[in-house]
Symmetry: none
Subunit: 201 residues, 4 copies
DNA sequence: GATGAATGAGGCTTCATTCAT
DNA sequence: AATGAATGAAGCCTCATTCAT
């Protein structure tokens, strides 16, 4: 009864409007998940706490995602997409100049959004979730690894593909330590050292 | 008087016998935990499954560890002690020769015991467990970081302590990638590249 | 803007409806607890059995009370509130007439609701629960002890506060024996004897 | 081997000696139970904690009692026997003089051994244990109720048996309150009031 | 779409009791 | 007699998910 009245008073919403509301909600949930999982961990967070963090009801989450795990995967996926956008190298060839920026942006990203990276690293190491998450990450990473390999080839590395993989792993390790020991980690030292390793300048 | 006599009665199993049983069981439980947590993750493993893996009853685990988390911490602790023993640099100064071996042993260790490293990395990234685990790890690591710093000083690095930290983070990243992508990872390439970075030979 | 619209949507069940459901369930659980704990004791009753007695699932109890002990405390609390209402002396000064009724009502209450009194006495004597329960009881009792003291003063007792305490303890003892030996206990003898002690009529 | 030697060196013990040792142990266990149950409650105490309190092993308790409940019943039984001995009225007729002493001893007993009375009251109110415990108590009490009834008859009470029961319940209530509110309870007031009620002096 | 009551499986932990030695 | 390792049932509680409204 009440419902009818309310609905009758409301301006009709177009399909597009509904779709926008849906997308906003979806993002809001994922961002709540980011904060929550980053703080308490995936297993340490309940759907109830996620609903609270997102300011909606438990049931509504299931309107957007069908399981808790899906929330996680989508959250990681969103984070990785944002990371790639942040690097902003989609349509460029890598140069020393760009590589320099990439190195620096790597640290910036962690400083800006440590929760995401915290949960990201935790997630890609969870047996059972790992596989799905790693596949997602690899999809993003592989797109660019070829770019980096081309760059290393231009710089005269003998095995450019392996170099790309190797440098990628250095990024992982450096990021991890910066994330969890930021107070003891001298990021400028690391930045310069990586540039040296890559023979930049 | 009566008391004296009673106490002089040897128990049917001596204290030493009980102690041996306890030590063996303890290790057996921790090794079961290593296999299990490594395979299914900490949160993915139940105390029931741990008991089964160890071939004992659920209740008995609590005779040796008071919580599930304590099992985890003790397991990590054991693993780290074994790692240190494996490197076998306790009473030596680091030389290029030894550093070379350390680099190689790093990969060997992972090949020999991937479960431990899998759970180790997963654990140190879990919010809520992270702190305890990282503290344990740091205790082990810090003992050696000074040794490495001294080595880097002898080699003429300007900021030997930061170099030790930086190289440590490279080890982390390389190990992580080798662990989860061993099939795509060329360990010989990485070994040589690290040696280059360290100006060995 | 979007938010306003969304919030204006009435939920299909209104807050009031949910609140009514909650209150009813809460009472139902407490009354089930009263029957169950009264019959089998607090430690002899499990949350599973309580759920069964209340005709709901185990988990739902935790939607209303956060621990088993809280169920107990709330149940005692409810019982005490009902007791006070039953005496119906909230806004009256005590007279011989009223005191007579109080004495008689004391026995009536036990006859009407022996389970509550059984669990009540058991509970206030359990180490570990005792303190919380006694505090609850004292809150109720103390409110009235002053009334009784004033009554005893009017009746010329030299130490009216101690008399109130003393008479309270007689009520306890008499109630206890009536509760557990009702078949052997002559309540009319006790009633008359107490009136004599209080010099009523 | 060791065992043989030790046993060979020990003087042979006669059956009587063994029996004495057994009795001492038994008492020691019951007294440990008294302290422990009185402090932590019956349900709050484990057989492990009892063994520790008694300074022996868990297994050995089962050499003397076959269940935890038997320990409890025997402990209550021991306490009641001691109480009766303490009153020391076994072979006497009750007089005003003796009754006076009984009243005073009632409070003394609680002051001397509050743990016992604490657990005693708790126990007789536990459903499931209650029946066994009450039967034990009643056996002790009934022996004396006739004595008290005879005393009340001599004093001219019209219904001496009911008076005995009634006075017994007053003792219960007064004891209970003295036990749990000793700081607020004026025992001298209570003693004098009870004497008045009994028309002593 | 939105709510939160409701479910029930499953997890961690405790503990009385047994038993090999 | 004496020990304490070992068992396993049972208990409390959590939580992803469903569903009536």
């Amino acid at each position: 009864m009440t419902d009818r009245l309310v609905n009758e008073n409301m301006p009709p919403k177009s399909k597009e409007q509904f779709e926008i509301i849906r997308q906003d909600r979806r993002i809001a949930i994922l961002e709540a998940a980011l904060r929550l999982f980053g703080r308490d961990g995936y297993h340490g967070s309940s759907m109830a706490s996620l609903a609270k963090e997102a300011g909606i009801s438990k049931g509504l989450i299931y309107n957007y995602f069908s399981t808790k795990e899906e929330v996680l995967v989508e959250m990681v996926s969103m984070g990785l997409r944002r990371m790639v956008e942040y690097y902003n190298i989609e349509d460029k060839d890598i140069t020393d100049e760009i590589m320099s920026q990439v190195i620096e942006k790597n640290f910036e990203m962690i400083e800006i959004n440590p929760e995401f990276w915290s949960i990201y690293f935790a997630v890609i190491l969870q047996p059972g979730i790992r596989d799905k998450a790693i596949r997602l990450a690899m999809e993003q990473v592989n797109k660019y690894n070829l770019k980096f390999a081309a760059y290393f080839q231009r710089k005269g590395f003998e095995n450019p593909m392996q170099e790309a993989v190797f440098i990628g792993s250095i990024f992982d390790g450096v990021s991890l330590n910066f994330l969890y020991n930021s107070s003891y980690y001298d990021k400028y030292y690391a930045i310069n050292r990586i540039k040296e390793i890559l023979k930049i300048k």
